[in-house]
């Protein structure tokens, strides 16, 4: 500010004045807040874009490179940075032929690009997607259609082939599975039989024989179906001239993005989304759906809720309604607070040591001794995981319920007591109904917390791929001892343990988005509920 010709002392004064007013610091703190907000919105937005974009059919681009022609989706671009030239990542798929799904090409080496109308993306049951052209469709070696007509022919015959495939899967999964379980049951019963009991043994053997006959029959039926499904073949050709012949029944979806309109693409998008939400995982969880994980998460959270609500509400009632203020209440509060602050992995360790090994081991000794040394409850399962999470989320319910209880007006209580109701009657008929929305808020927050936790589950029963659901049509329907799949663990497993993590990344984004949606939606719901409650009753946090 030499232009103003101010002397040094006054410059110093101005500096002091500037510091005094401190608006620069206000701006600094505003910037800190802005950075935090930017980070969170950026993060959620990033996941949403990455996840949601994954199902949209992208154009297949054919380009020439020094190593020959190349056809694929452009999956990433990298601008030149320092010495590194600009590059483009192509998803070329055809893992079985090329060995890898992705290729990085320098922009400078990319020749002419075009979008051939007949380029197709074939989603397959095995080996990931195929990107290339449909050469022909044949039945028992007889060519049904080739060239341009082949795609239409394949598309037309796809539902038939897929229903065959569906039949095969049903038999393999349900009927053979049922038979296997019954055979195992027989084996166990036989083990538990007294050695001298010849008649019972004979009966069991007859039963087993009958089961084996049924098993054989199923097997023949399966063989027939498999042979039939192998009759229809689709011959695919890559852009560099290799051909690949696969049964049409191994095709999940045929997509020709370059000649599909926006409506068609939306249809494909919806179909893929539906498959993701409702289908079983394939290819070690990197493709297909995540239905078992969704189901496992929901079921676990529900079982957890059943246990966490009574415990949390009782504790809150004790603190607010029954206990007199004193060291006891203070120590209960400290305990609740500590429970909220203990790292989740410690709960996992406790769950493993106490629920799984100690309680589970005792249950196995008492009720499932005939299956030992194979543990039934003495290993991780959905019951133990839910119990562990219930312990972990109890403070959330306690705090919310306390707040709700304290916001029930004193006048209501006194009115009830004045009418001659006992304390419990007052609580049951007046206080609890008034506090119900608050308890619900606590429950929802607990559910959100429970749905997002992974570390304790890793020790108490979550698996990457569960062979059977914890709830199914088999007696006794609920299988509390079974291991289960979980969205959060799915993210960890597919993102970090999968051999082909690059190809699996979109799946992880989508799973993360789903988990995020669930958790954020639950939280938003709870927040709204709480705000309504506060507005209505004018309670306060403290």
């Amino acid at each position: 500010m030499a232009r103003n010709g101010t002397s040094l002392p006054s410059g110093l004064q101005r500096g002091r004045e500037f510091l005094r007013r401190g608006s620069a610091f206000v701006w600094l703190s505003a910037a800190a807040l802005a950075l935090s907000l930017l980070m969170i919105t950026g993060l959620v937005g990033f996941i949403a874009v990455k996840g949601l974009g994954f199902f949209w059919p992208r154009a297949l681009v054919q380009a020439t490179t020094p190593e020959g022609p190349l056809l694929g989706e452009i999956s990433a671009r990298e601008a030149a940075l320092g010495e590194e030239p600009a590059k483009v990542q192509f998803r070329v798929a055809n893992r079985d032929l090329y060995g890898q799904d992705f290729r990085w090409i320098k922009v400078a080496e990319l020749g002419a690009q075009q979008r051939p109308a007949d380029a197709v993306l074939v989603e397959r049951l095995e080996n990931g997607a195929f990107i290339g052209f449909v050469a022909s469709v044949s039945e028992n070696g007889r060519v049904l259609a080739s060239g341009d007509a082949a795609f239409e022919e394949a598309l037309g015959r796809l539902p038939e082939a897929q229903s065959l495939q569906g039949d095969i899967r049903t038999i393999e999964k349900d009927e053979v599975g049922t038979l296997n379980r019954r055979l195992e049951d027989l084996r166990l019963r036989r083990r538990g039989l007294a050695p001298a009991d010849a008649t019972a043994l004979a009966r069991l053997e007859a039963e087993e024989k009958a089961l084996r006959v049924r098993y054989e029959a199923l097997q023949t039926r399966l063989d027939g179906l498999r042979a039939k499904s192998a009759e229809l073949q689709i011959i695919l050709r890559t852009v560099d001239g290799q051909t690949k012949e696969i049964p049409l029944s191994a095709v999940v979806r045929l997509v020709a993005p370059n000649r599909t309109g926006i409506l068609g693409k939306a249809g494909i998008y919806a179909a893929r989304l539906w498959e993701f939400v409702s289908g079983d995982p394939r290819e070690s969880n990197t493709e297909g759906g995540i239905f078992p994980a969704i189901f496992g998460t929901v079921l676990m959270v529900l079982i957890m809720s059943l246990m966490v609500v009574p415990l949390g509400v009782v504790t809150a009632l004790f603190l607010r309604e029954y206990a007199r203020d004193g060291w006891l209440v203070r120590s209960v509060r400290v305990a609740v607070n500590n429970l909220a602050g203990v790292p989740s992995i410690v709960f996992g360790v406790f769950g493993l040591g106490f629920f799984v090994y100690t309680m589970g081991g005792a249950i196995d000794q008492a009720f499932f001794a005939d299956r030992l040394p194979t543990p039934t409850y003495g290993t991780g399962g959905i019951l133990w995981a839910s119990l562990t999470l219930a312990l972990l989320t109890v403070p959330v319910v306690v705090v919310a319920t306390e707040e709700a209880l304290s916001s029930v007006p004193r006048s209501l209580r006194e009115a009830s007591l004045a009418l001659g109701a006992t304390k419990w009657q007052t609580i049951w008929k007046v206080v609890l109904p008034g506090a119900a929305p608050g308890i619900l808020t606590g429950l929802i927050l607990a559910m959100a917390r429970g749905a997002g936790e992974v570390a304790p589950l890793m020790l108490t029963g979550v698996v990457k791929l569960a062979p059977a659901m914890p709830l199914d049509g088999q007696f006794p329907y609920f299988h509390f001892d079974r291991k289960f799949m979980h969205l959060g663990f799915h993210i960890y497993d597919v993102g970090f343990q999968s051999p082909n993590s690059e190809a699996a990344k979109p799946m992880v984004y989508m799973t993360a988005l789903l988990l995020l949606l669930v958790v954020v939606a639950l939280n938003l719901f709870a927040l709204r509920l709480r705000r309504r409650l506060r507005e209505r009753l004018g309670g306060s946090t403290f």
């Binding site: 401190g22 802005a34 935090s36 320092g82 504790t315 500590n338 790292p343 410690v346 992974v454």
Partner: protein
């Protein structure tokens, strides 16, 4: 209508229910304390056996023939008694009675037989002066518990005829597969008439083999010797108290070490890496041949408590690193890694002793013909307090170090359970997270509570609360798979970013000051945060574009190369910066919410007074509000700290999980919590690793317990303080 009407019954019932519910609810309320204490107690209980010392107790009534060395069977029911007079005999330990006889041994009488090693190898010098190497193998029918049905099937190597009878055999080693047709090459070191010498068998010939003298001994008297596992080196203990390593093929002395007294016995601990040496006056040390640098060197690894009397022999366990050592009147079981003495007993006139392969049974035979036995209970000998927190000299390391390495590829692996690297990793991760999160969260809370307009505030608080609910597995996934590679590419931009933001702010500030006051008060005050967003975005873009130039100008074009060459730091992709950043996401909302609560509950009267005295809003916020709320902010920081310490998934996914001791922000760490998640699925129930992990969980529990209790106490005091306003 009687007096005891249904109304009375209803009332009575209501009262009964009331009392019942009071009891139930009180019990339920106390259950939460029980749960917390129960958890603490249970986890502690699972970890406690680590520190229970070993217990040895005398076992009565074991019988074995005198003057024989024993090789115990795994179950401790039977043993092979080896003596020169009677050869190999199977005996039942409970009464000393003979079991099945052993067939196929060299013809009796033998002129000398070695004590069987723990693995069951022995060397026999028969009456004709030939050497037989044998390996004792039990053959037990499956599920057979009665030793009477057990057989011993020794595998004998072809006889070796030395050209000259040895005076005293020092050591032998069968090199497996060294010969043709499955037979090994036997190497023997002995004292002959010409002095110390060695020979080796030639497979397929029965001709006499000449002794080759051992050279380079400088005239020292050889008292004990030991072949290395591969048979290439011969370790020699001399009467002058030196431990020598000789390469027998070349005759060269490869390494030597000093021992305080004449060496009388040498043996290997499990794994064949650590050489146990015992001296004439009972000194006991372990050495290792370290092959680092150009020349191998014999290095002292451990010093154990001495025995009484000259050390006569060793027997390692085949399960862990414990070993039995005995002198003429003393015997002890020590653990190699921890140097802990698990067991000690005195037995006058001891001739030989034996340790079962599991290391849970010790027998000692004395010259008087008496056999004594002890059972030894030492379930976790590899863990002591010192080994958990102190430096330990492990096999293969050139100095004592803090190491965490719980399992290795082989059965003879030496487990390394030092909690120090894990605690260090936990503190390091927490530190970087707090460095990042603390200023952002506290400043953000200060702004939200003091300067932001109410509408803005009502929008910001729920957003941050949602941020608190983000599952850590999602943050971890983003940190590990997205941020880590991005950071690696843009590390310089990230570091330049604060500078860029400052420069832009300095440029923007004069412009802002010149804006009309009306505009400023309408759009500025309380809404600064809205203007800060574009500023920060611009700063981000600026730092992205400026980074390459900065890197070229100051860091020689490639920062990783610069780090390595100028600073000696390697850059790991999954490093502390990434963890700190990602964990910041988890910690910021906690500190923010709690601090904001504390700041906004500062009584309005205080701020009004300050403003009325002419203080600017910032002065009020900084000098009045912040100090008043500082206990609340402190408690917020404690809770945030607790969260950062225990965070598992983010650390698990965003670091390489290498347990290193290094403060560098460019490499990773392994925290206590992540370590539990990584290791406990493979830890056998009630094994040492399992218990050490429970100990780690106990530490985490205690640490967060302290932090949270502290925070809660501060909060309660704060609440009381404000009540008076």
């Amino acid at each position: 209508m009687s007096a005891a009407s249904p109304k009375d019954a209803v009332l009575r019932r209501a009262k009964r229910v009331d009392r019942l519910m009071a009891v139930i609810i009180s019990v339920g309320g106390l259950a939460i304390i029980a749960a917390v204490l129960g958890m603490l107690f249970f986890i502690g209980k699972e970890a406690f056996p680590l520190f229970r010392g070993a217990r040895g107790s005398a076992k009565q009534g074991l019988q074995a023939p005198a003057q024989a060395a024993l090789l115990l069977d795994e179950s401790g029911k039977a043993a092979v008694a080896v003596s020169a007079a009677e050869g190999l005999r199977l005996i039942r330990l409970t009464d000393g009675s003979a079991l099945k006889s052993v067939a196929g041994s060299p013809a009796l009488p033998w002129s000398w037989v070695s004590r069987p090693t723990a693995a069951g190898e022995l060397l026999v010098l028969d009456g004709a002066g030939r050497l037989h190497e044998g390996r004792l193998k039990w053959s037990k029918p499956a599920g057979e518990a009665n030793p009477a049905a057990w057989d011993l099937e020794p595998v004998w190597q072809p006889a070796l005829q030395p050209a000259q009878a040895p005076q005293r055999i020092l050591a032998f080693r069968l090199m497996e597969g060294g010969g043709l047709e499955g037979s090994g090459v036997l190497r023997v070191a002995a004292l002959t008439q010409e002095g110390p010498a060695w020979l080796e068998s030639v497979p397929g010939t029965t001709a006499a083999v000449a002794w080759k003298p051992l050279t380079n001994l400088a005239g020292q008297t050889v008292q004990a010797a030991l072949w290395s596992s591969d048979g290439q080196q011969l370790f020699i203990g001399t009467a002058t108290g030196r431990l020598l390593a000789l390469d027998v093929a070349t005759g060269a002395l490869t390494a030597e070490a000093a021992f305080p007294e004449p060496i009388t016995a040498l043996a290997f601990a499990l794994g064949g890496n650590s050489i146990l040496a015992g001296g004439e006056r009972g000194a006991l040390q372990a050495f290792q041949l370290l092959r680092t640098g150009d020349a191998p060197q014999l290095q002292r690894l451990h010093v154990f408590q001495p025995l009484a009397g000259p050390v006569r022999g060793f027997m390692p366990s085949l399960r862990d690193k414990r070993f039995l050592v005995w002198s003429d009147r003393d015997l002890a079981v020590d653990h190699l890694t921890t140097e802990a003495r698990l067991f000690r007993a005195s037995a006058e006139g001891l001739t030989s002793a034996s340790l079962s392969t599991r290391g849970d049974l010790v027998t000692a035979s004395s010259a008087s013909g008496e056999t004594r036995a002890w059972t030894l209970q030492a379930t976790h000998p590899e863990v002591t307090f010192t080994s958990l927190v102190g430096k330990v000299h492990y096999e293969g390391y050139d100095k004592p170090e803090f190491v965490w390495q719980s399992s290795g590829g082989t059965d003879d692996f030496e487990p390394k359970f030092s909690l120090v690297p894990l605690v260090f990793g936990t503190l390091k991760g927490t530190l970087y997270a707090m460095l990042f999160a603390l200023p952002l969260a506290v400043l953000g809370a200060l702004y939200t509570s003091q300067f932001a307009t109410p509408r803005l505030r009502n929008a910001i608080k729920p957003t941050v609360e949602i941020m608190a609910a983000l599952p850590s597995v999602v943050l971890g996934f983003l940190a590990g798979l997205v941020m880590a590679p991005l950071f690696e590419k843009l590390a310089v931009s990230v570091l330049v970013f604060p500078a860029a933001a400052l420069v832009l702010a300095l440029l923007a500030f004069p412009v802002w000051m010149r804006l009309p006051d009306r505009f400023k008060s309408l759009w500025g005050t309380g809404r600064e945060v809205l203007w800060a967003v574009p500023l920060l975005v611009a700063a981000g873009l600026l730092s992205l574009t400026a980074a390459p130039a900065f890197e070229r100008a100051f860091l020689g074009g490639d920062y990783r190369h610069w780090l390595l060459s100028a600073q000696g730091i390697t850059y790991d992709q999954r490093n502390s910066l990434v963890v700190g950043f990602a964990m910041g996401f988890a910690v910021i909302p906690i500190i923010f919410t709690l601090s904001e609560d504390a700041l906004s509950s500062v009584p309005k009267s205080l701020t009004s007074a300050s403003l009325a005295c002419g203080a600017s809003p910032w002065q009020t916020a900084w000098r009045v509000v912040l100090p008043t709320a500082s206990p609340g902010i402190f408690s917020a920081v404690m809770v945030g700290l607790g969260r950062a310490i225990g965070e598992t998934m983010i650390v698990l996914m965003a670091t390489g999980n290498t347990p290193v001791l290094d403060w560098s922000p460019f490499n990773g760490m392994r925290t206590l919590a992540a370590n539990i998640a990584v290791e406990i699925p493979e830890a056998p129930h009630h094994g040492s690793l399992y218990r050490v992990l429970f100990l780690a969980a106990f530490l985490l529990f205690l640490l967060t317990f302290l932090l949270n209790t502290l925070a809660e106490l501060v909060r309660q005091r704060l609440r009381k303080k404000y009540e008076s306003f």
